[in-house]
Symmetry: C2
Subunit: 216 residues, 2 copies
């Protein structure tokens, strides 16, 4: 059955792998599933046709026959559940890998996204510098806990899992902030994720969209 | 096997059901699983013994034999997966219910929590009123999409699911803000959640902890 995902026609990150379709491309590459991509303008994302697929008018969506999904975490889980290699076979280890998926999206990502949003919406406000410091402290609280738990392991709990895929994706948003560099083991962890052949293929595919849009 | 969860010894919400152990209590009541509760002081939550269970030093955790889980979303999923009634049997409907779990925690909850945090950390700053308005606009964007999708249905996608359980839990944090009242169908949706006998049992159990702590 053909898989179709949606992505930004012109990604705000200029194709640097930070848009949430990247997570879906990455997991599809990990399991070797081909997929089509439908590109959307910012205007098309808010129109009824797309809102019928995604109630919040965002990307990515996932279509496979009659099934329509939204939320990158749910799409990654759907694929990880149906193919070997991204969730452990042992029941307890599988539950822990899923806990890391939720931790990436509900504990670690929110203050990181908040910082990205503040950099756009609050840059010209008089409180910008103070807000940024508050946010960065709150990011450091999460990274400190994560760094202590990771220790000198390669991945968060045994072999690479869908939990690592989402955690690396979330941490990548800190690139260029300097914050990630304060945690040597987390920087190495993110680099291990980026070095995976599936990550590289996904990254190249989404960068090609951006390059084509701006050279076309 | 005995299930043990952790909760605040003295919840900051004064036992009003907003702490994240409430979600775990609720799902356990929905499936009729008894559980023990270990109460933690704020200091104990940050100590190594608890951090060994929860890398971010928060509540709730979930212990069942050899299994230790953290992240309320992951715990709710773990229980929903092992008992009938909270995830549809049909594969596509099940994937969509899981998408609502992620939507509750990764799309709807972050700006709501941000508002709660701003009300504590930024109340005395000169920018407080402006920040609150920015945050409430961002909450309204999410609630608008959710309200349109819910329409006049009882639950988000067919029968009550773990996705509804998490979404109602997240929306409950808006009680008293007036924002939820702007969406009649979402207010009725939350009231339907609160009217479930399992919700009531869970609410009473966590309120009893608070009442005992302050009368003891």
């Amino acid at each position: 059955m053909t898989i179709t995902i949606t992505a930004f026609e012109r990604s705000p990150d200029r194709g640097k792998g930070l848009a949430r379709d990247m997570r879906v491309r990455w997991v599809l590459e990990e399991v070797g599933q081909p997929y089509d991509v439908r590109l959307l303008s910012f205007r098309a994302m808010k129109e009824p046709a797309h809102r019928a697929l995604h109630p919040f008018g965002q990307i990515p969506t996932y279509e496979e026959g009659d099934l329509v999904l939204f939320e990158s975490g749910a799409i990654v889980f759907h694929i990880a559940e149906r193919h070997a290699g991204l969730l452990p076979g042992d029941a307890n280890a599988r539950a822990r890998a899923i806990a890391w998926m939720f931790a990436a999206l509900n504990t670690v990502e929110p203050p990181i996204v908040e910082r990205d949003v503040a950099k756009i919406l609050e840059r010209d406000t008089p409180w910008y510098e103070q807000r940024l410091r508050l946010l960065e402290d709150s990011i450091r609280k999460r990274l400190g806990g994560l760094s202590d738990r990771l220790g000198d392991a390669d991945w968060l709990d045994g072999a690479f899992s869908a939990g690592d895929l989402l955690m690396v994706s979330v941490l990548l948003r800190l690139k260029g902030s300097g914050i990630l560099d304060e945690y040597a083991n987390l920087s190495a962890y993110v680099a291990r994720g980026e070095a995976r052949p599936a990550y590289k293929r996904a990254f190249d595919a989404q960068l090609a969209v951006f390059t084509a849009a701006w050279s076309g």
